[in-house]
Amino acid sequence: MNSTDFRNLARTISRLEDNHRETVSRIIQLPLDRPQCHIIGITGPPGAGKSTLCNQLLSQLSEKGKVAILMVDPASPFSGGAILGDRIRLNHLAQHPGIYARSLSNRGNPGGVSRWVVTILRLLMDKGFDYLVVETVGAGQSEVKIASIADTTVVVAVPQLGDDIQTAKAGMMEIADIFVVNKADLPGSEKTANMLREVAMDSSGQWKPPVCQTVATSGEGCQQLVEEISSHHTYLVDNNLLEQKRRNAARFELVEMSSWLLHRQLEELLGERQGQLLVSGQVDLYSRLEKAYEAFINSLSEVSD
């Protein structure tokens, strides 16, 4: 792809982010079911080395095909602005003709990703990218939306983040298809890897998540990670599980978009004046909302027909 292609692609993504109706309606009709494409999610706590690891992944994956990466960072809850700094780690790949990299603000969307991610993935799939990498915001224990989007979810941990109770908790630890212990040159790396192996052994599915130890800054262990990522894709295809993943992603896309519309409407409806009313008590807006909600639910049957 040349600069003009990248420019058009970049502008379409901006229009999606701005909820430009004609663009959304066009892109949402593009297929999401290309099995030869691989959607790879990278998540983990802030500072774990996700972006640096992505830099290594991109340079290896770009030898096998065209790669696009979406890198999500959080928006300010106060100003709505954002510092999108993931690109710093990708600079030497910036001019690679087979790599497209785009930073996205989460625009206040909880859960670790931007609400337009799946729709953007449709567009990238249509443009012929083979590997679609999504890097989440620096995630906590419960930012797990990436698992509804990606074919393969890679959870990046680092040594010394806590004892084995941390790995027993629900949320992030359950969504990994592959675990990475990055910064594996630091003390405690083997212990963390062992704790994660125990989590992996207990996982209920047929796929037991492998644990890779990497040093993203030097590239150590990254070859093995790429191999594990590709074996997971093969596993999904061989067991007819990929279709299920994509169906989940498409459902997630619609639910995400429509709940945002609803949420926005509600915030507007319950503006300053209503806020005053609510805080003073004496009114039951909830029952009125519930009534309105019933009517809304009835009208929904038209959508799925």
Partner: protein
């Protein structure tokens, strides 16, 4: 629709305090700021600006190479058909160099002591002019 800005440091100096202060200020003004870090070539900066679909690029240079690096970014944008992306600059820049930079298409030049409010207002103005 938040304004998208790319803040970059072309050339070889390692002084990024100013660039980071400007990036945070623009964030606090509600803009989405892509920060690309140190030691960027004009070609890298222009490619990033295109892929990120930014409205404007801010260049910070404290090495004295602004006379060659800033205009290079503007001419590369033109070459790639992206001349609607505006470019502003800042850093240790002698007053006598400013007219030449403006002639080369740098819309604003901010030297040490510039007020952050003015930078925010200037960025808003040039992006609105574009629309």
């Amino acid at each position: 629709m938040p304004i998208r800005v790319l803040i970059a440091k072309p050339g070889l100096d390692g002084h990024d305090r100013g660039a980071k202060v400007v990036a945070r200020t623009l964030r606090d003004a509600g803009m989405e700021v892509i920060y690309t870090g140190l030691r960027q070539s004009p070609a890298q900066i222009v490619e990033a600006a295109i892929q990120e679909d930014v409205d404007i690029i801010g260049l910070s240079c404290l090495s004295g190479a602004h006379n060659s690096l800033f205009p290079k970014v503007v001419s590369l944008l033109k070459e790639k058909g992206a001349e609607d992306i505006k470019v502003f600059g800042g850093g240790v820049i002698p007053d006598s160099d400013i007219p030449k930079l403006k002639e080369a298409g740098i819309v604003h030049v901010f030297t040490p002591g510039s007020s952050l409010e003015k930078i925010v207002a200037a960025v808003r103005d040039c992006v609105q002019d574009n629309e």
